[in-house]
Symmetry: C2
Subunit: 147 residues, 2 copies
């Protein structure tokens, strides 16, 4: 089902003149099939069996390439490592303060915020990012069970 998105992503790569190596293909495929937002290390570990010789630097290098051509977004939260999201359609994230889970949700794009910010700050605004923080359902349940 995500074959289509993978093909599209590969086309974007080709269009940018980026070589499609087996490692790149694998990282991209993993990102697209992953419903979560994996860290570089998670990707590295998951592909270890398929590519026993792959270096972690390769994962980082390729994630940078993907980011630079706009194929993936790098998400930096409080925790130590970056997470990578290849869902480039407009969406926002809900993040659980307890377990770190990230859930996507949609909301009409906040274009007004961008234009107001432009007026107030003098910036040329190109995009924005938003997250809500709180407690996910599972963690809520766990809390309730304790008491």
């Amino acid at each position: 089902m995500s074959d289509h998105r993978l093909k599209e992503a590969l086309d974007t790569l080709k269009g940018s003149g980026v070589r499609i190596t087996p490692q790149r293909h694998a990282v991209l495929e993993y990102l697209i099939n992953s419903m979560s937002h994996p860290t570089a290390d998670e990707i590295y570990k998951s592909l270890e069996s398929k590519f026993p010789n792959m270096s972690v630097a390769t994962v980082y290098n390729n994630l940078r390439v993907f980011r630079e051509i706009g194929l993936v977004r790098e998400l930096t939260y409080g925790d130590s490592s970056s997470r990578f999201d290849c869902n480039t359609t407009d969406h926002y994230h809900a993040i659980c303060d307890h377990c770190g889970k990230i859930v996507d949700f949609h909301y009409p794009s906040l274009d007004e915020v961008e234009s107001l910010a432009e007026q107030v700050t003098g910036f040329d605004v190109s995009n924005h990012r938003m997250e809500v923080y709180g407690t996910c359902e599972e963690c809520k349940d766990k809390e309730t069970q304790k008491h």
Copy 2:
């Protein structure tokens, strides 16, 4: 002019039973007077002349203390180090993609986003964060001059 905010912050510290050491005082003062959003290392370097023996761990420790009692916010963006913001009033950030400058701006709080996210994701949402990204005025000027 920021004497008032400093005094307020010191009162908050006292109220939380946190000792006001010279180092803490200095870090807090620096944060309040700084209109930017400094990194731990920037704070450390700026206070080096006043406190030649201060350890960088002290800066981190105290920033954590301040964060825990809600006196400062930790901002994590794409770049490697966290930035610290002691402006706890509700505001958002505009971040320059070129030079990294951070400018504050105000916008009516996005309460609707929080409640919609709660409905869609099942989370208990406690707060949110938003930034806009683009090019600041100075960097725009530089670009124009080039051509």
